[in-house]
């Protein structure tokens, strides 16, 4: 189940981006990197159907779409277990023992066994990310969307989370779109990597090609150079993420 963006644009006080085109093939994993404030998270929310397009259209044929939010968006009044049984009940109509068994299996898959009765604010940032991933996966999605899946995590936990995403994604052969500022995780997670900057999607190259590319914006971003087409004004233009 692929994703197609045709001439997509979003406007708040000003146009954040316009005429974006992107095709994500069935089972493909696309990563979008780029400076803060360029609208990466906005683009993800548009793909998820949480924000409308102001121009163009997005085709997402999947009925079941899972998303890991930037701030995890865990239901803080529910326990870890309930954060998984709730989507099962509401989205798939699965209740009772079957829901309990499925949630137990998923918690085990993401390494959260033993935390079932804790609340989200009682577990660490890394565990919250794992729970967010588990919640996104429990509804058996065909497409997964990850908004900064490793933001705020230490490098070791960040790598563990990326490994977990890779293994779970490979197991279920899912299509995914990930937004991140972490280029190492982008290499790890993406089949193709794009840079969103100044309203344009650049690149679309494999991790190996991305590392060697001469596209100045991408080169500047991945090497963290001060000099280049991504000026300080561009990087800190402060659009909504």
């Amino acid at each position: 189940m692929g994703i197609t963006l045709s001439g997509v644009g979003k406007k708040f006080d000003r146009w954040i981006f316009r005429s974006l085109n992107l095709s994500v093939a069935d089972g493909e994993s696309v990563v979008i990197i780029g400076p803060s404030g360029q609208g990466k998270s906005v683009l993800l929310k548009m793909i998820a159907g949480l924000l409308p397009c102001d121009e163009g259209q997005i085709q997402v044929p999947a009925h079941h779409l899972g998303m890991l939010f930037q701030k995890n968006a865990l239901f803080d009044s529910l326990t870890v277990r309930e954060n998984l049984t709730f989507p099962l009940r509401e989205r798939l109509g699965i209740r009772g023992e079957k829901a309990e068994a499925l949630s137990k299996e998923m918690l085990s898959a993401v390494g959260l066994s033993g935390s079932e009765n804790l609340y989200p604010d009682e577990i660490s940032g890394g565990m919250q990310k794992r729970l967010g991933i588990a919640r996104a996966l429990i509804v058996d999605p065909e497409i997964l969307i990850f908004d900064e899946p490793t933001a705020g995590l230490d490098p070791i936990t960040s790598k563990k989370i990326a490994d977990l995403i890779r293994s779970l994604k490979a197991k279920k052969k899912l299509t995914s779109v990930t937004v991140t500022n972490d280029v190492h995780r982008a290499y790890q997670l993406g089949d193709r990597i794009f840079l969103l900057s100044q309203g344009r999607l650049l690149g679309g190259l494999s991790p190996e090609q991305t590392q060697k590319t001469e596209i100045p914006e991408i080169r500047q971003f991945i090497l963290g150079l001060k000099q280049g087409p991504l000026t300080e004004a561009t990087v800190e233009s402060g659009g909504p993420e």
């Binding site: 159907g49 949480l50 779409l65 899972g66 939010f69 968006a73 709730f86 509401e90 989205r91």
Partner: protein
């Protein structure tokens, strides 16, 4: 070229205009939210567990503070009226009628309403506003759950039930403590007070109280949820949104209180 005072004036006017526009937009959003919430009366499923949970939180959770406040309000009103009557008329025989009518028509309703605006309104805005800024509402939408049906409608039903019930309980409790002071301090007999009260308080007064209670039960959660859905930013955003919701709900409750009082003054 504009002078500095002219620029300041322009900037101040711009800020006032923005604030006014923000209020207008919020009121429009609250009206649209109310319309969407009314639609849920004809949809299923009604989330009874959420409604029950909200009734417990709003109704039973607010009961102690409402009872304490109205008890003191009842004692204050008898004391005050007695003093004024004694000064002006050299008689306190009219206390039951005046205080009873004042309590049933106004005091027994206004005091709990203000407390419920502060308690129910603030907690609802803070809770849903936090869900908004932490993307929990987006997560609900992604699960195919309508936030209006899940968050707003149960709270509206619960608030109508709880606030109407609390209003009636508060009237009764205020009266009891008004009688207590009249008996303990001004030597009225309990039945003497109740008998003297009867000609002044009728079914119309109770209907007025009921109308006010139901109206507040609609106003408080709708204003609280309307503001919460517009909440932006982090903790500061939730804080300022909660403050604005409480202020708006307080003004709205006083306004609606006046409207019902005026309508019933024409009818009774």
């Amino acid at each position: 070229m504009k002078t500095a005072p002219a620029k300041n004036l322009q900037s101040n006017l711009h800020q006032v205009g923005q604030a006014f526009q923000e209020q207008v937009d919020t009121i429009q959003d609250i009206a649209l939210l109310f319309k969407a919430t009314l639609g849920w009366f004809f949809k299923r499923p009604w989330r009874w567990d959420e409604i029950f949970h909200s009734v417990v939180q709003m109704g039973i959770g607010s009961l102690p503070v409402v009872l304490i406040s109205t008890a003191f309000a009842g004692m204050v009103v008898t004391n005050e009226l007695a003093w004024h009557m004694n000064e002006a008329l050299s008689s306190i025989s009219m206390i039951p009628g005046v205080s009873g009518q004042f309590i049933v028509r106004e005091l027994g309703i206004a005091v709990p309403a203000m407390i419920l605006v502060a308690k129910v309104g603030a907690s609802t805005t803070a809770e849903i506003g936090t869900m908004k800024v932490t993307e929990q509402i987006d997560a609900l939408k992604l699960l195919g759950i309508d936030p209006v049906g899940y968050l707003v409608f149960p709270r509206l039903i619960a608030a109508i039930i709880s606030i109407t019930a609390l209003t009636l309980i508060a009237i009764g409790f205020t009266l009891i403590f008004a009688i207590f002071v009249a008996v303990a301090k001004f030597n009225f007999g309990t039945f003497e007070f109740i008998n003297a009260l009867r000609p002044f308080v009728g079914v119309g007064d109770l209907a007025c109280a009921l109308c006010k209670g139901i109206s507040f039960g609609i106003l408080i959660p709708m204003i609280a949820c309307g503001y919460a859905f517009r909440c932006q930013g982090g903790a500061k955003g939730v804080g300022s949104t909660t403050t604005n919701a409480v202020v708006t709900a307080t003004v709205a409750v006083i306004l609606v209180d006046f409207i019902w009082t005026y309508v019933f003054s024409l009818l009774l």
